[in-house]
């Protein structure tokens, strides 16, 4: 099984100069735990998590509008390609203690693979195929 089969395509992203509070708002609204961070030139430059944003917002109180995503994100994320086998993605998440991998085709972000995507895919392989007509 390949990453392309189980990834989320066209992921929601945030730009590095956006306020942390805005990233947090997007994640809360959409139920995401992390967002890929893009440069103005459209390159993936990092990953920001809900936790990063919560900590920034609570640590800075009312001044949180001034904290931008690129100051709290994890830069240079581990990435995979659509053709990467899922077990390789699982190995990368385990080794690097991350729960989210941007999926890149060359320089272009084409998807995102999360720990949940892997769990769901594995769950489906364990469940018996529904019999036709049942």
């Amino acid at each position: 099984m390949l990453v392309a089969e189980i990834m989320t395509s066209n992921p929601v992203t945030i730009t590095g100069n956006a306020p942390a509070a805005r990233a947090l708002h997007i994640m809360d609204e959409m139920g995401f735990h992390q967002l890929p961070v893009m440069s103005n030139a459209g390159h993936v430059v990092g990953i920001v998590t809900q936790r990063d944003c919560r900590q920034a917002v609570s640590a800075n109180g009312y001044s949180h509008k001034h904290t931008t995503v690129n100051t709290i994100m994890s830069p240079a994320p581990i990435v995979v390609e659509p053709q990467t086998p899922v077990q390789e993605a699982a190995r990368l998440m385990t080794e690097h203690h991350v729960r989210c991998l941007p999926v890149m085709r060359g320089e272009t972000l084409v998807g995102i693979l999360t720990a949940s995507d892997l769990l769901i895919a594995f769950m489906r392989t364990l469940e018996p195929e529904p019999t036709p007509g049942s």
């Binding site: 077990q87 699982a90 190995r91 949940s116």
Partner: protein, 145 residues
């Protein structure tokens, strides 16, 4: 057969746990030492709750954003795990089919599940345990092919 995997086939058996009368500072130190974010709480050998790093952070009053690290540590030294842990903890039985436990993790968005046998904590099932299985199965397949 994959569908016959049990929770006990994948779980981590050496599970780090806390007691209800442990201080939050001690729980926090354990999490840091072992690089984990959840601690099952055990009272007289029986699973009594679970505490997360988020529970500890939120245990400080809401105006604690103005507190210094020293003041926070003072607070965490006064509050016990039993005061802030989640009591109605979702757990799975060690002899249950693994796929049932995985369904709970997916549906409830849990990254780990305490594992019990007759209420006694015997392990913890984490996302990492599942990933190790995915990797091991893929490697076994390659050997066969």
């Amino acid at each position: 057969m994959l569908s016959q995997l049990k929770v006990s086939d994948l779980m981590t058996k050496s599970v780090i746990s806390a007691q209800p009368d442990s201080k939050l500072s001690a729980a926090k130190a354990l999490m840091k030492e072992f690089g984990i974010r959840h601690l099952p709480v055990v009272e007289h050998g029986v699973l009594a709750g679970i505490i997360s790093s988020g529970d500890i952070r939120e245990a400080a009053p809401s105006d604690a954003t103005t507190l210094s690290v020293w003041e926070l540590n003072y607070l965490w030294d006064k509050i016990t795990v039993g005061e802030v842990m989640t009591r109605n903890v979702v757990s799975v039985n060690a002899d249950e089919p693994f796929v049932d436990a995985l369904r709970i993790m997916v549906a409830r968005k849990f990254s780990s599940l305490p594992v019990v046998r007759q209420d006694v904590l015997v392990g913890i099932l984490t996302e990492t345990d599942v990933f190790h299985k995915i990797i091991a199965l893929a490697e076994a397949e390659m050997v066969q092919a």
